[in-house]
């Protein structure tokens, strides 16, 4: 993995279409933290990358938590007196309160009402609600739909099952030269929500596919897991080997129109934090956030007992866009060009992690006479950029064994890629050696 990103040059538009198709493909499936929706999702993803699927039985302990009963659903509806489905699970997987227990009853609107969830401020949108750990049942619908329901008897049916089964997750390890790992984690438990988090799932799948085509220094481990309980289960099953994780990214909300954002790991200045900040700052627009113990699975990876160097790459963070956790987070809300841009940023971050290292200037006393090595003549020839010329001088000046390429990029204000190219050129001439 060196030089540039072939994928970038090949076809950004194609990448955007592939990512969007992946999102669209997975969108209709009703996912939850357990159940067949997750299995079907992983099955689709296997068409992109080879995943190992794990099944962890209900009742398995994971630190302070226990894998819950598995939930599956076949149908759910509310029928009016005329027998018409006024709320229908088959219209959208959001219509059912996620993890609803089965029910089949007839009741008045007054009796039904406590089980109906709406968004009065957004009367056209259907909210996304869950009740994983407190047994309940319910329906989500738009406020307008609710307002239109007359006071009459309704047939209420949720054809779900909730019982011993398993929690399912997908995993892929792409081995590199070293056993040191980069962890990429995305949550796959949300039903028909496009940005949160089919965008993250698609970017992770295609990042994995890209990395499979390269030889890398690090090993890359991808996790496609239900949020919270999934990362807890994975951590509890892999506790002894998490020390291999040198860098990590949670991928979530990567398809909306906002600029890229990065949330730092708990450590705040881990290499992944510095690399992600450097790569994102090269864009016109980006935002960096300090760690907070709220969000996605970075909460678990960055819990104090693990404190892994795992940050989060997103566009608009969860909760900062009104469409968050509603039916408006649909296939119109994510854009191919944004998905492709997210993937490329992700790959640029990996590229910088791959190339980052500490070199030692082999002629540290004074500047070497670059023209002797064809590194100044080439300059005079005008084919090299002024940035490359400066990068040569910076790399020579700071390669004293105490500064890595990222340090040099940060201090010089040059792009990491320019600095890495200069280091390659100097290595080729024997002026620089890896420490």
């Amino acid at each position: 993995m060196s030089g540039d990103l072939p994928g970038v040059k090949l076809d950004e538009q194609l990448l955007g279409r592939q990512l969007y198709d992946c999102v669209a493909d997975l969108y209709p499936i009703c996912r939850s933290i357990t159940g067949d929706g997750v299995r079907e999702t992983l099955s689709h993803l296997k068409q992109i990358v080879p995943l190992t699927v794990s099944e962890v039985p209900s009742g398995t302990a994971a630190f302070d938590w226990v894998v819950p009963n598995e939930w599956n659903i076949r149908d759910a509806y509310v029928k009016n007196a005329q027998g018409e489905r006024v709320i229908d699970f088959h219209d959208s997987s959001l219509h059912v309160l996620n993890y609803s227990r089965p029910i089949g009853e007839t009741m008045s609107l007054a009796e039904l009402r406590p089980h109906l969830f709406t968004l009065p401020d957004k009367p056209d949108w259907v909210p996304y609600r869950t009740s994983y750990y407190a047994e309940n049942w319910g329906f989500c619908l738009s406020q307008n739909r609710l307002d239109a329901l007359p006071e009459e008897e309704y047939e209420v049916c949720i054809d779900s099952s909730l019982g011993p089964g398993a929690l399912t997750y997908g995993e892929l390890l792409i081995p590199g030269e070293s056993a040191e790992e980069v962890l990429i984690s995305c949550h796959i438990c949300h039903p028909s929500l496009a940005n949160d988090n089919l965008s993250g799932v698609a970017v992770a799948a295609y990042a994995a596919r890209y990395l499979q085509s390269r030889s890398t220094r690090y090993s890359y481990r991808f996790l496609f897991i239900p949020a919270t309980i999934g990362s807890l289960v994975w951590l509890s099953r892999n506790e002894s080997s998490v020390s291999r994780i040198r860098h990590g990214l949670v991928l979530a909300c990567l398809g909306d129109s906002g600029p890229l954002t990065y949330k730092r790991s708990r450590r705040g200045n881990a290499m992944i934090d510095r690399v992600a900040a450097h790569i994102l700052k090269q864009r016109d627009d980006c935002e960096l956030f300090d760690f907070s113990p709220y969000g996605y699975d970075e909460r678990q990876y960055c819990s104090p007992g693990f404190d892994l160097p795992v940050g989060r790459l997103s566009r608009t963070p969860h909760g900062r866009f009104p469409e968050y956790h509603t039916s408006a987070d649909n296939l119109d809300f994510v854009k191919p060009v944004q998905l492709a841009g997210s993937l490329l940023a992700c790959l640029e971050i990996f590229e910088a992690l791959e190339q980052e290292r500490v070199y030692l200037n082999q002629k540290p006393k004074g500047e070497p006479k670059l023209s002797k090595y064809g590194l100044y003549d080439s300059i005079g020839g005008g084919t090299d950029s002024p940035a490359f010329r400066m990068a040569l001088l910076w790399v020579l000046n700071l390669s004293d064994g105490r500064h890595g390429l990222l340090d040099i990029a940060e201090r010089s204000g040059l792009d990491f890629q320019e600095v890495a190219l200069a280091a390659d050129a100097l290595c080729a001439k024997g002026l620089l050696k890896e420490m």
Copy 2:
């Protein structure tokens, strides 16, 4: 000392009145760095809190200084040819140059003039002047009064005494669980000046009274002392035990209309500096100053041979208000509401010092399942604030043995009190233990 501040909730208006009454009560007394004015002042304060009064003989050495002769004054005036008192000590204790030697003579205005002090820029105000260590005599008066004096003979009388006696100060130790001390120091040597420093004296007295009603972790030591020589004397008599002082505050100028200000200790980032900054920043308006070796007794506590973690809580700092050291620093210049606000800030600072500690998350791997402990259900119930929910997560995430509650408050941006409440709740459930 835990939870909230009973005094705060009980009656802020009542506190304001009590503090103001204390200032008004002490205002007429002619104080100096020694003498009966100090004794009378301490006597009044004993009605609020039980003070131990120390008498240190004139001539006693205190480092590079020596306790001076004691000064007392009964009367002082300038009479015109008609025998009318044109300057009268009984009108205001400011009229006499503090520490004036006795005199009784008749002289021309020309002879008198070098001994008269005015403020030409503030022609209605009487300045406050002292001459502790160079024997002198004089009167302070308004420029307008001086301008009205005709050229004639004046009878000049200062019925003072200056001779061996003692320096007097008051002290109160409120023992806590630990022998570690919080030092609170205020200067009591200024005569009829309300803000500088009867405001500080009153706040100190009522802070002591409040602390006497609580059980505390720290011991609290209050000093009511003459400025400079008083702190030097106290330090020289207690040199071997100053290492017990963990935190300290000089209280001065706490009654004017300005916002609260805090001057950092010489150390700059002592716990008292961080706590005071945190508490003050919760107000709409406040100002923080770095240490400088000019000001009140923090100069002595923060001299390099002691370098105690003692900052200063004030409103408008000395010298920044035009009324400073003039007759305009009178009972109109200080406000009950400002005095009460200063006392409350002071108590909040003590409260945070009391509660500050380092806890250890007992379930550091992943997040604990808060609903198991009633800490998530209660959230759902809506009675707890979003800030409290975030505080629970922050305390769990950062309680790794390297972060105290103040660290957590600073990093999370939450109020210390919210963080401390979350820590209490987590301790109660066994999820957190004090280190």
Copy 3:
């Protein structure tokens, strides 16, 4: 070296004239990195200060470099068909491509053109071009002059020699109490360019003359050297003793109308960096730059194998003024008042380096009673400034063995000179001792 700068008080106008005369005197000489122009320049400078001149034979290795053949030139011209010199070296040393090999031919304008260098954007100016290490020949002229040349045959003559000889540089060591050195380096290789770098050469020469008249704590080493190869040669010949260099300044571009600027050493916070920043900040206008491995001989001194604490004092940095490396960098471009201001800043920096040290307060417990030592009475007398009073308190407070005078100046916001005066006064009274 203590107290103030005699030179400053004596006559700043005189200094400006002397510096300007020195620049004007050296301006016509055709200098290069080797040759008689350098020898003649050093010869002139010897009238100001006694220099040791070193001759380093061509072929001598200096790290990755080799001393090139020596270049000398007697005449160079292009004559038109009428035998008139249309380009004449005797008009300006810039007209010949520096280091041109000899040539004597007749050729058409088309054949000549690839050897002519102009500045199309500045059609009246003649550029400065060199070709030290790639054998070539050429002429520099204004675009207007070139445009006026008809297509005809031209006689081209460069009467130069390029062969084994020596590289010449001047050096002066002014011994101080200590063998620790301050290095001052300026490049003397540029031909008729006034600001770059006769300004630096003149300032260095007069700084040396000033220091010769003082007794100093540090030894001061002045280098008058050709850029790059000169500093490399000097470093390679003095490698074992560079560790004596405690502080250093490269002097360049010190006569233009811009404000003073300082470029930090590679270390970034070396004493010279802090002192220069402090001295420059006392001016209305100044600019500070971080180190970059581009510029003048600081590139070599700050190469990672040496990493010497050497910064650069300039006015407008190279490349930031349009006259840079053109005939417009002439005697009109530099001003006596600017040269004098640069010299004074330089001397103030040396003064602060001389005075900087760590003192120990001899009465660290509480403040000493300054009036006992005549340091408070004098205050009362009004002859001392409020800044001096504050400086006394700051020096006492921070002289705990961990803060030097510069630390105290930086923290207090007072001028270094004020702080040094206070330290002197306190030493004189035994209140302070050098550590």
